[in-house]
């Protein structure tokens, strides 16, 4: 603090009535050589300090505003908004709970769950036979499985082979059972489809495809199996 700043601080302390005797003495000694501080001292001695005017103005004020109602109303409004929100949220929660229960009872949740996340649960296994004409398969490189058909083989099944098979292929390409079906075809014994040279046979064979299915898939696969049966 610079030297004169210190005396300003003392002048403030004197004006606020907080200065000690020693501080006042030091300030009086300084004021003898400082006109500005001498003026402060003179005002203080004469009771003309602007701070005194502020204090007396406070005492003379008569304004008595009443904020009780406005504030209480604002608080109640806020509480009411909060409780409205709570009631609203409770209502929505109840409605949602009822909807979920209804969906659960009607089996909708299972279907929705399967659609959203078909591989999260282990579905029951069901088996059905599909008799597939051998010529509908095309041989693919044995990269993925030594004796298997990859997706390409199934996907290439020509629609001309018959509506059922075409439908099966098309559906297979889109359905959630896609991956499982491909895996099942790969795993099936399809040696009968190939002749001794490893090329495509013209014989029709029965391939047992085992697919992991839940109710919804059984319905789909069952229909496919029915349609595909010669």
């Amino acid at each position: 603090m610079r030297n004169h700043d210190r005396y300003e601080s003392l002048a403030g302390a004197i004006a606020l009535g907080e200065a000690t005797f020693e501080e006042r003495e030091a300030f009086v000694a300084h004021a003898a050589d400082c006109a500005l501080c001498r003026q402060d001292l003179a005002d203080e001695a004469a009771g003309r300090s602007p701070l005194a005017a502020v204090s007396s103005a406070r005492d003379e004020e008569t304004w008595r505003p009443s904020l009780d109602r406005a504030i209480v109303a604002r608080i109640r409004e806020k509480s009411s908004k909060r409780s409205n929100f709570a009631v609203g949220a409770l209502g929505w929660a109840a409605a949602l709970s009822i909807a979920v229960n209804v969906a659960f009872v009607t089996g909708l949740t299972g279907q929705v769950s399967n659609l959203l996340n078909p591989t999260t649960e282990a579905p029951p296994i069901t088996s059905f036979g599909i008799r597939l004409p051998a010529q509908t398969f095309a041989r693919v490189p044995r990269a993925t499985h030594p004796r298997g058909f990859a997706l390409a083989a199934v996907g290439r099944a020509p629609r001309s082979a018959g509506p059922a098979l075409g439908s099966f292929s098309a559906t297979l390409a889109k359905a959630p059972i896609h991956e499982s079906a491909v895996a099942a075809v790969q795993a099936a014994d399809i040696s009968d489809l190939l002749d001794a040279n490893g090329t495509r046979s013209n014989r029709s064979v029965a391939i047992e495809i085992t697919l992991p299915c839940n109710d919804a898939r059984i319905a789909t696969c069952g229909a496919l199996a029915r349609d595909a049966r010669p």
């Binding site: 300003e8 601080s9 002048a11 403030g12 907080e18 602007p50 204090s55 505003p65 904020l67 209480v72």
Partner: protein
């Protein structure tokens, strides 16, 4: 000034009841303080309402928190300073004849209006120091705590404010 007034002593009251007591006890003093600070009665009411509402929200969040009058004055001072700074940034200055609009007719003595004009001539920090010490009755040490500065700085600002006001009052006289 009872600076250790703590409303939170009565913990049996809920936030709403505590705030009602707080409003009842402090609304007049606080509204007058803010009105003198910003020279605007309507704005003072808005500021005070905001201060009490902030107190209410704080009590709701932490019902055990003690609330001092110092907190009310600190919040009111900060709100008022923010308002004055915004006003200054917008380039608005209050014509001296409009200063009287903030006060009731029976409060509009020449001395009172001169004082209002003199206070309006101060910077926000000096004004806050003068208002907290000479108007609200806090010591320089308490005002320093409220304003987050040192007691010496408060006294110095009071001294400088005093000189500015003296000049302003002298010119008007």
């Amino acid at each position: 000034m009872n600076s250790v007034y703590v409303l939170g002593i009565d913990r049996s009251l809920d936030a709403e009841a505590r705030i009602e007591r707080l409003v009842g006890d402090h609304q007049t003093k606080l509204a007058r303080y803010v009105r003198r600070f910003v020279n605007d009665a309507d704005l003072a009411l808005d500021v005070v309402q905001d201060v009490f509402f902030s107190a209410y929200k704080m009590l709701r969040a932490d019902p055990t928190r003690p609330l001092t009058a110092g907190w009310l004055y600190k919040t009111a001072t900060n709100h008022s300073i923010t308002y004055l700074r915004k006003k200054k940034r917008r380039g608005e200055t209050l014509p001296l004849e409009e200063v009287s609009s903030a006060f009731r007719t029976d409060e509009c003595s020449a001395v009172s209006l001169d004082l209002a004009a003199a206070l309006a001539s101060l910077g926000e920090e000096q004004l806050a120091c003068v208002m907290l010490t000479s108007y609200a009755g806090y010591s320089s040490a308490e005002a320093a705590l409220i304003l987050g500065t040192s007691a010496d700085a408060v006294r110095q600002r009071v001294c400088r404010a005093m000189r500015t006001m003296r000049k302003s009052l002298g010119e008007r006289a």
